[in-house]
């Protein structure tokens, strides 16, 4: 156990990095696609719609395989970690698109009217009035997205990223203790998820409207 502990901790760090980076990418993509759906012209709206339905309509594992194994065929050569971050980011982005869009729609329509009546442009109104209110509504559902995302990072073991799941599998051979190895990985996942959950709760309290 002591012998493998450092490797598991290192792998936990990789998992955490994957989760954080892919979540940031997903948030960016989600914000862009949600804006495109709500405020874009027909072209942007259609692109966003296709993105969301394709990603949500196919398994994440297939998306990772296409990117990592299929990528080189069309000139995209990524190391496993980058492919993991990008693949997971694109995947979660589709779910975040709907979360962000839902939060924006949930802001009372009178808010936009009041802002426009004062002379603000649509863009100014979205930035100063709608988004700050939507952001507060987004924290909790985004927390749910992120929870799912941390668990989904386990998939990248299939494209040989040395994350927690991959590491657990690797040490089964030398320790002959699959039970302990997977329990250890599971515990570390739970630590990451619990910590993230605490951060989300704290954030949710902080942004609550007075």
């Amino acid at each position: 156990m002591q012998r493998v502990a450092p490797f598991f901790l290192e792998a936990a760090w990789v998992t955490l990095e994957l989760a954080v980076l892919s979540t940031l990418l997903g948030l960016t993509l989600g914000a862009i696609a949600a804006s495109a759906k709500l405020y874009g012209n027909v072209v942007f709206r259609s692109i966003a719609t296709v993105y969301v339905s394709v990603i949500r309509g196919t398994p994440c594992l297939i998306q990772l395989f296409i990117l990592y194994f299929g990528g080189p065929q069309i000139g995209i050569n990524l190391d496993p970690f980058s492919a993991g971050v990008i693949g997971l980011g694109i995947n979660i982005g589709a779910y975040m698109t709907e979360t962000i869009r839902g939060a924006i729609i949930a802001v009372d329509s009178g808010q936009m009217e009041a802002a426009r009546t004062l002379g603000l442009s649509k863009f100014q109104a979205v930035r100063k009035v709608i988004l700050p209110q939507a952001a507060r509504l987004m924290v909790r559902p985004l927390g749910v997205n992120i929870n799912a995302q941390i668990k989904a990072t386990a998939l990248v073991s299939a494209i040989s990223v040395v994350d927690l799941t991959y590491t657990a599998q690797r040490y089964i051979g030398s320790t002959y203790k699959p039970f302990e190895m997977f329990i250890l990985a599971g515990v570390l996942y739970m630590v990451i998820i619990t910590l993230t959950g605490m951060i989300v709760s704290w954030l949710n309290k902080r942004v609550a409207i007075q």
């Binding site: 009178g110 009041a114 802002a115 004062l118 002379g119 442009s121 009035v129």
Partner: protein, 260 residues
């Protein structure tokens, strides 16, 4: 007075939602400093007409003018947006449900638009907020958030927010309908004070007594047309049209029954 150049003018306004024609060829002239009250049954098109003035609900046909500017002039999309954003700075609007920005303090609600659109400094903005709040009697609430205010206070802040843009005309869409009866008067008082200061105002209201006391002219709308209009004493005391009489009878009876 009657031959003065109109300050706000609506020419042959038509508005359709699909097959439903909710405004049928309405024309209206409002002089500078005049106060118009629009009354009429639910669904008669009062809000639609009011919201056409700042193009919140664009007309299907017809023109809206504010002084020498056509509010709803036909322009390519981008140019139109620039145009309407400028025009709207001159037209204050107060809504039934206040529509204060809940994430901003009272001060920030008032200063948001002047800061963004007029580029005034923080110090000037603060002074503006203080000035406007004093006007509506809420100086001590400057650092409160909307959720910490009563309905009447919210509406007074909403009026202050609109006035902070120094509008040429103010539109009120049932500003007191969402308020508890005991909070109506404080908002009415603010509006009366504005009237005394000769603000040009167009007021949609269900409160006949208030309309009578504050307006220079009353418009009675029904079914998308202005059925009858005139000075309050004439329209309330000696209505000419059958529909006006019926509406007033119903309302006066309802008011008489309501607890004072």
């Amino acid at each position: 007075m009657t031959d003065a150049k109109p300050f706000v003018e609506i020419r042959q306004a038509r508005k359709c939602y699909g097959d439903l024609e909710v405004l049928k060829n309405i024309s209206l002239k409002v002089n500078k400093g005049q106060i118009i009250a629009i009354i009429g049954p639910s669904g008669s098109g009062k809000s639609t007409l009011l919201r056409a003035i700042n193009d919140l609900d664009p007309l299907t046909d017809g023109e809206v003018w504010l002084e020498d500017t056509q509010v709803n002039k036909k322009l390519p999309h981008k140019q139109y947006e620039n145009h309407i954003n400028k025009v709207r700075q001159n037209i204050g609007m107060v809504f039934q449900h206040f529509n204060l920005f809940p994430h901003l303090s009272v001060r920030e609600n008032i200063t948001l638009a002047p800061k963004m659109l007029k580029g005034i400094s923080d110090a000037e903005a603060d002074r503006l907020a203080e000035e406007q709040l004093e006007h509506v009697g809420l100086s001590d609430r400057i650092d409160y958030y909307p959720s910490q205010l009563s309905g009447g206070q919210k509406q007074r802040v909403a009026i202050a927010r609109a006035l902070a843009m120094q509008p040429k005309v103010m539109l009120f869409d049932e500003a007191t309908s969402a308020l508890d009866p005991e909070l109506v008067e404080e908002v009415n008082l603010v509006m009366k004070r504005l009237a005394e200061e000769h603000m040009t105002m167009i007021i949609v209201t269900h409160e006949m007594a208030f309309a009578e006391s504050v307006a220079d002219r009353i418009l009675f709308m029904d079914g998308g047309v202005v059925v009858e209009e005139g000075p309050p004493e004439q329209l309330f005391r000696a209505p000419k049209h059958e529909r006006t009489k019926e509406f007033l009878a119903k309302h006066l009876r309802a008011n008489a029954l309501a607890p004072a």
